[in-house]
């Protein structure tokens, strides 16, 4: 009986250990963490900055290079990059901040520009205000720093460029009697007219787009300096003349056959690489996709995007791109801020190193003056496309994406699908507005 009793006690002890085990473990780790923090106040103690970003060829590579550059000047600082997919970063961030477990976050995270406002406004305490950290924000493209600015506080250090470009197959344009210049600084009306001619003469549509994806529409909206949310962040679908023109233009593109819709990203990429279409319009990171078809070298050209007809319309826009944020829980906030300021916000060398192999274009304007950016690109017929794109980036109209950007994009995506399928504009946009207002009315 005694033995049984003993075994029962042991069992209960085991079960309780199991439950309390995790919490004790985390206590210990936070203790050691705080010890480290106290130690790191002297500047020579070793510091490791952990960073979450997602693309080994692109932003992880850039971060590692930046780490190497910084370590040369500050041998005590090491940068450790942990490859984490963007969706996972968002999920982990949401979970960590809402549950109060911010010690699970790294020192620096990379964030999609489209999610910047949402996360900074929802979790203002989770990120470090970098306004007075010494980072020279005026040396970045203005629209990029604006995206990470909330209530006058600058939270994000801009990284890659999402300036919108139109890539076109010059050989196919030639068959239709056009050159790249015929597609530069034009309006959407001209684009569609010329697109019809290209389609008729060569059988190739100019563009492809993922069905139901709002990306191209948002690109068009931003090019006109307009947005689907007004300055107070309220839904701005109904009676939005620019949105009406954008959607009419898109429907016209689809109906005329100048743009073909595909179902997913893989098909989008293959439609470009396999010459199903004669062009691509997206953020300038699409260059990586275009150049992956090495046999088409010399056949491509890069120009700006068509413009709408409203007052603020331009030939410049942005799609995608990302920025660095310092987490407020970081034990080495000052080191992290200094690191970002000296590398991404101060080192032309960094941008020169990463450009050739990753195509990572900066929004750090001084980098545009470096020699690496002026190298002609054989793939694009010897054109200096990086100079072109850096110039486009400086002209992108500023818009504020807002907290409910993803909700708005989803609502627009659903609406455009319905409209292309034949639903009347006012009905579909009315539904979208109602849906968005519901999500915002929590």
């Amino acid at each position: 009986m005694k033995r049984k009793l003993l075994s029962v006690i042991l069992m209960i002890a085991m079960v309780t250990c199991l439950f309390t085990g995790c919490s004790k473990g985390s206590d210990d780790s936070s203790k050691t963490g705080s010890n480290k923090a106290e130690g790191s106040k002297t500047s020579d103690d070793p510091v490791t900055l952990t960073v979450w970003c997602w693309d080994p060829q692109f932003n992880c590579y850039a971060m590692n290079t930046a780490g190497d550059i910084y370590t040369k000047a500050h041998p005590n600082v090491k940068v450790e990059v942990i490859e984490t997919a963007w969706d996972d970063i968002q999920t982990k961030l949401t979970t960590a901040v809402t549950s109060g477990q911010t010690n699970t976050l790294p020192d620096i995270i990379l964030m999609q520009d489209s999610a910047l406002a949402k996360n900074i406004i929802n979790y203002p305490d989770a990120f470090v205000d970098l306004t007075n950290s010494g980072i020279k924000f005026d040396q970045f493209a203005a629209f990029k720093t604006a995206l990470g600015t909330v209530d006058g506080k600058k939270y994000s250090v801009p990284f890659d460029n999402g300036a919108a470009i139109t890539c076109l197959r010059t050989d196919i344009l030639q068959q239709a009697g056009y050159t790249l210049d015929d597609f530069t600084n034009i309006t959407w009306k001209e684009f569609i007219e010329k697109g019809k001619v290209v389609l008729e003469k060569t059988g190739k549509p100019l563009l492809s787009n993922q069905a139901g994806s709002p990306d191209l529409l948002m690109l068009m909206m931003q090019s006109a300096g307009a947005w689907v949310l007004d300055e107070n962040g309220k839904a701005n679908f109904k009676d939005n003349a620019v949105l009406k023109e954008v959607i009419d233009t898109y429907v016209e593109l689809v109906k005329s056959g100048v743009l073909v819709e595909v179902n997913d990203w893989d098909q989008y990429v293959s439609s470009i690489n396999s010459t199903t279409v004669a062009g691509a319009m997206n953020g300038c990171w699409i260059v990586a996709t275009v150049t992956s078809a090495a046999d088409q070298s010399g056949l491509w050209g890069v120009t700006n995007v068509p413009k709408l007809s409203n007052a603020g319309a331009t030939n410049y826009s942005s799609q995608g791109g990302s920025s660095w944020l310092v987490c407020a829980n970081s034990k080495n906030k000052d080191v992290a801020a200094d690191f970002l300021g000296e590398t991404f916000g101060g080192s032309v060398e960094l941008y020169e190193t990463i450009l050739p192999s990753s195509g990572a274009l900066a929004t750090y304007l001084p980098a545009g003056e470096s020699a690496a950016y002026a190298n002609p690109q054989d793939f694009f017929g010897g054109d200096t496309i990086y100079l072109k794109i850096t110039e486009y980036a400086s002209k992108v109209p500023q818009v504020s994406y807002g907290v409910y950007n993803y909700e708005a994009r989803d609502a627009i995506g659903a609406a455009i699908t319905k409209i292309v399928a034949g639903t009347d504009y006012d009905t579909a946009i009315g539904e979208a507005q109602k849906e968005l207002e519901f999500q915002m009315g929590q």
């Binding site: 069992m11 439950f19 399928a421």
Partner: protein, 294 residues
């Protein structure tokens, strides 16, 4: 230990002790979060801004068109998929239970094998098979059955049918295994007697197999209903809810509310509880209808 327990009490005590670890684990890992989620469903905001709002979230449900769409979609999957899959599994099981069939093990393995694939990877394979230039379209084009490719995942009903097909492919074998094990418990003499009395194959199936398998059919029906109501991976990866949210499932909407949109955890918990209620009610109904034991 002077006072000895009676035999009965001791047995009870020992059996309780055996149950205890599992009970504690389930209570800690399942029931505690459930209660917390229930409390969460009465709040809005998160962290410091969290506030108690009573039944506000439950009232919001009625104005939420996307919730209604996702609920409708999930029921479409449920109504089309569960009966189809269970019937198919039942037929396959009784075919493969025939002692005269050769290579039974091979066939059983082949039909069960889809269950061993990951939900995400099979969804992606289905997506590429039904792409515009995918396997399905090239086969149909080469057989001259269609003149231009069908946009399977870009149109509402074809997309829904593909999702139903995919789930059926993935789970039929799983249910078949339950039926096969149930069939092992039916005495072959019953079938022999039926054959001698001149019962046809379909009569045997309807009058012997189905009634004797009733408890197992009930079990699989409840499990499949539960599984379909919580459908997530397939819709997320095959269509991502599109076109225009016409294939989105409830779970995917909950995910969107929590992680893609500005988080609304309270409201997401509310919808989770609706799923919980639906599972409870449907299981109860199925038990009432299906369980003929006294």
């Amino acid at each position: 230990m002077k006072k000895r327990l009676t035999m009965g009490k001791r047995r009870k005590l020992v059996s309780w002790l055996f149950i205890l670890p599992a009970t504690l684990l389930i209570a800690g890992m399942s029931f505690y979060p459930m209660i917390k989620a229930f409390l969460l469903s009465f709040t809005k905001g998160f962290g410091k801004t969290s506030e108690f709002v009573g039944t506000y979230n439950y009232q919001r449900l009625f104005q939420d068109s996307l919730f209604k769409t996702s609920l409708g979609n999930t029921f479409i999957y449920l109504i089309l998929q569960v009966p189809l899959m269970l019937l198919l599994a039942l037929i396959l099981a009784s075919l493969l239970n025939n002692p005269k069939i050769k290579c039974k093990g091979l066939f059983r393995t082949m039909i069960f094998l889809p269950c061993a694939t990951s939900l995400v990877s099979y969804s992606i394979i289905f997506r590429s098979m039904f792409a515009l230039d995918g396997f399905a379209n090239s086969v149909l084009m080469n057989l001259n059955m269609i003149s231009r490719p069908i946009n399977w995942l870009g149109e509402i009903w074809p997309a829904r049918i593909i999702i139903v097909l995919a789930i059926t492919w993935r789970w039929t074998g799983y249910n078949m295994i339950f039926y096969l094990s149930g069939l092992q418990n039916i005495d072959p003499q019953v079938y022999e007697a039926a054959r001698i009395d001149g019962a046809s194959v379909s009569q045997q199936f309807r009058k012997i197999t189905i009634p004797l398998l009733r408890p197992i059919i009930l079990l699989t029906a409840i499990m499949s209903t539960n599984g379909t109501l919580q459908l997530f991976d397939e819709t997320k990866n095959l269509t991502n809810g599109g076109p225009a949210n016409m294939t989105i499932s409830i779970s995917q909407y909950i995910y969107k509310l929590s992680f893609e949109y500005s988080p609304q955890f309270g409201y997401a918990a509310t919808i989770s509880f609706i799923v919980f209620l639906l599972v409870a009610v449907l299981s109860f109904l199925q038990m009432k209808v299906g369980d003929k034991r006294d």
